[in-house]
């Protein structure tokens, strides 16, 4: 199972991950994202070992609410201040060009 935590190919077998692995949902997702802010926070706590936050098995112990909306992340949303970023999704609107639907 050690390969699951390291770099894995882009194509993931979700059916297998969900139904026939013992990974927690958080582990499944954290072995996935690269720019996920939650993960970057985890990395930063690893670096800052002096301030060690007691977080044994982060999925079970801390009081995360059973909530429908994930909290907004203003820092991650800042990328949408960028004009290029705003233009990148034009093809998803009826007014946008349909042919060159790359990035």
């Amino acid at each position: 199972l050690e390969s699951s935590s390291s770099q894995r190919p882009r194509r993931r077998d979700w059916t297998k991950l969900i139904y026939s692995s013992d990974l927690t949902p958080a582990q499944i997702l954290s072995s996935n994202k690269e720019e996920d802010s939650r993960e970057s926070e985890e990395i930063s706590t690893e670096i800052d070992e002096f301030f060690h936050v007691k977080k044994s098995d982060s999925t079970n112990d801390d009081e995360t609410l059973d909530q429908t909306k994930d909290p907004l992340n203003p820092r991650a949303l800042q990328q949408w201040e960028d004009e290029e970023m705003l233009d990148s999704i034009r093809n998803l609107f009826i007014t946008g060009a349909s042919g060159d639907a790359d990035e």
Binding site: T68, L92, S98
Partner: protein, 364 residues
């Protein structure tokens, strides 16, 4: 008391809502233990107790046992009775917290739900009543649940004191139809609701203007509505929020919202909501992340045929939900990368419906 052998065990306070729903729909008893055993304040929270209470009221013959410490509970589901109900939601959670599971149960009741909920109508944790009305309920229509489906916002209630009131009306169905939703389409219109209670009504207009400054570039069909509630109808606390939705040519709906925070200008709240909507749109798919579980549940309950839906990657909640569906209904989804999705991470979810029939339904 002797425990039935079919009892299904869960641990922890996470995902309590969907586990209770799945138990009631499948008719299988569940036991949830280790509910915050090591917390300073162990056991169930007031809103969880309140949820159990409303589930007890909405059903007939349900047995709920809670251990002395409150760290374990046993649910033996009865039938979903529905009918006219009123519930005071605690101020620790918004009415969205309670509506989320009730919406999953309501179509399968004996009598149509006519539910009155009082409390906080918009907060940061669960969908606001505006998004439930404009986004969640249309998702039920995908499954043939539509006539008489309504959420009326009578009074608004901002945290902390609440004071809001909503009426939820839901028709009952015999069966839900099989979903085949694989074409996300393109965004054709954007709608929004801005509301400001017990603060200057100008705040709504300021939010609308800020949001338009970003959205106007994309399409002309944008209508952001300033929803005014006055006097008693505006609840007990000041607050404002902007709820946005984008609808595609194939009726895929993406939504986002942001609520007032101390020291944050209405413009910034609006920009947060707007950018969050753009982030949702960029993820694509036919169903947004917050509605994955609702859609997947209805696919499981669909007629005995293969239902398909294209969505983004599963969220934490969705992954656990799929596992719990497997334990209670035995249904496994096939999840494969969507063809022609290019560089995106969209997936095709498909499953064979269980052919769930609403046996509670009283024949008129």
């Amino acid at each position: 008391m002797t425990l039935p052998s079919s009892l299904i065990q869960f641990s922890g306070h996470h995902y309590i809502r969907h586990r209770l729903v799945l138990s009631i729909l499948s008719g299988k008893p569940i036991r949830i233990d280790k509910i915050r055993p090591d917390d300073k304040n162990p056991g169930l929270r007031d809103y969880e107790i309140s949820l159990l209470r409303i589930l007890e009221k909405a059903t007939n013959g349900t047995v709920i046992e809670i251990s002395v410490t409150g760290t374990a509970l046993l649910l033996k589901p009865g039938i979903i009775s529905g009918g006219t109900l009123t519930h005071e939601c605690p101020l620790s959670r918004s009415v969205g917290y309670f509506l989320d599971p009730l919406i999953m149960l309501a179509p399968f009741a004996k009598k149509p739900f006519q539910l009155t909920l009082r409390g906080i109508t918009t907060d940061d944790h669960d969908l606001s009543v505006d998004l439930i009305r404009t986004v969640t309920l249309p998702h039920l229509q995908l499954f043939g649940i539509s006539d008489g489906l309504e959420l009326r916002i009578k009074k608004r209630g901002s945290p902390p004191a609440g004071g809001g009131e909503v009426h939820f009306l839901c028709p009952i169905v015999k069966q839900v139809t099989t979903l085949n939703f694989i074409e996300p389409g393109k965004i054709k219109r954007i709608r929004g609701i801005a509301h400001a209670v017990r603060v200057s009504p100008q705040f709504s207009n300021r939010m609308i203007e800020a949001s338009r400054s970003v959205l106007n570039r994309y399409i002309p069909d944008i209508y952001l509505y300033s929803d005014v509630y006055k006097g008693e109808d505006s609840g007990k606390s000041p607050g404002y929020a902007l709820s946005l939705l984008a609808e595609s040519t194939t009726s895929a709906i993406y939504c986002a919202e942001a609520t007032s925070q101390p020291g944050v200008a209405p413009e910034d709240v609006a920009l947060l909501a707007t950018r969050s909507l753009l982030a949702e749109i960029s993820k694509g798919g036919c169903v947004d992340e917050r509605h994955q579980t609702l859609v997947l549940l209805m696919m499981v309950l669909g007629s005995e045929d293969v239902g398909r839906c294209r969505m983004g990657e599963p969220t934490l909640r969705t992954i656990q939900f799929l596992r719990d569906v497997h334990s209670l209904f035995g249904t496994t989804f096939k999840i494969v990368p969507a063809e022609s999705s290019g560089s995106s991470n969209q997936l095709m979810y498909s499953c064979y419906g269980t052919g769930y029939v609403n046996v509670n339904r009283s024949l008129a």
